[in-house]
Symmetry: C2
Subunit: 237 residues, 2 copies
């Protein structure tokens, strides 16, 4: 390759990274907005959050398109190919995080007409804090190519799963206490599941960072959405 | 390209198609098994269903790996590139269908210790029939490159969404009738959401078939997971 070609190629890889960073920022903002909208039943904020999702969808398609065209044009090997594959995967996970935040915002819209039970939302706040931290650490791990931080995300996701179990039991208890709580809490059950899955996607991102930096995949013993490990893309480091 | 190279290339594309077909068969079987396990609370069948998911994960990674290597090696244009991109997308959707069926099977395991309410499962059976039909039609549309059938899937998914709304209300009613139904029905709420999302993935597959055959994307007015339409991969037909 000429210097000129190499520079164009570098620019393409950098453009992918910038789009992922933009997607990460939007996904974090959507999660934060959706949880605020849910806590305050702010329908205007909920609608804004739903509307933000379209930008994420467009960015994901951009990343996928640009990544595939780069593979076809440059025929990259090893580390560069991992860089591009990582961009495709992470953009997919961030698009899903946006969908899940959008789902929470939509629940906030549905709940605005229901009898409220503020104490039922408390457990969801703890889940939100844990999930926001996982997402931030996963995005930082990607930005810094920090394998240790990525492994921490992978380890800490179980705490969010445990929180979800606890919230599930609490919500069922509120429902049993008073049938008037049933509808409100049923919607919150879905919100809690959505937050838990944002943790799963953060963990997926962390796994992708480990793959990106080391060429290795993490073992399969994580409870959710594991990779079939060693047999995947055995590319030279 | 020499004839030999062209043949090797054709073989690669055919191998992708065969893997997608295998994935489709497994996903359909998992959905059917999971719903049987849920209806009868058959823990052995539920465990078998959970175990089947690993094969789908491996196949998805195979398809992704093979597709990307083919793009890098052959630098395909237009129709062939769409073929490969479609394989990546459809394998992703089928892997998610498997996850969702696995989730239902896991709920069947959790429910085996709960007080049962057989009439609560009835609505889920209707949802299952609708979702199984959408999935079958989407897979047939892919196998036959049948755009009309794909558009039918896209149109009919709203019926499954309406069924889910109805099941949601029914389950809430059962919960309000008797607090002893709450735990059982809370788990069924998640199963019903899982089935509804299998419909969404079937619709994604149908959208991919339309893109594969025509090079066009469907408009954005579907309720869930729309494509940012016209700006995506504007490749010549």
């Amino acid at each position: 390759m000429t210097d000129h070609t190499v520079k164009a190629y570098d620019n393409e890889l950098e453009a992918l990274g910038r789009k992922i960073a933009e997607m990460g920022g939007i996904a974090e903002q959507m999660l934060s907005n959706a949880m605020d909208a849910l806590a305050t039943l702010d329908t205007s904020l909920a609608r804004t959050t739903v509307a933000m999702d379209q930008r994420l969808d467009i960015l994901q398609r951009d990343v996928e398109e640009q990544a595939i065209l780069t593979i076809a044009k440059r025929q990259p090997l090893a580390a560069d190919l991992r860089e591009i594959i990582a961009a495709i995967r992470i953009s997919g996970d961030l698009e899903r995080v946006g969908d899940l935040a959008k789902n929470i915002a939509k629940r906030a819209l549905k709940l605005s007409g229901e009898t409220r039970l503020p104490r039922a939302v408390v457990g969801l706040k703890s889940m939100h804090e844990a999930a926001a931290m996982l997402l931030k650490d996963a995005l930082d791990a990607y930005a810094l190519r920090d394998v240790e931080r990525a492994r921490m995300v992978w380890t800490h996701d179980v705490e969010l799963d445990a929180l979800e179990d606890s919230v599930f039991r609490d919500l069922l208890t509120f429902m049993m206490e008073d049938p008037r709580n049933i509808s409100f809490c049923a919607h919150l059950l879905f919100c809690s599941k959505n937050i838990e899955r944002i943790g799963d996607h953060s963990t997926n991102i962390a796994e992708t960072v480990v793959y990106l930096v080391t060429g290795e995949t993490l073992p399969m013993d994580r409870p959710k959405g594991p990779s079939p490990a060693a047999d995947y893309l055995p590319l030279p480091k």
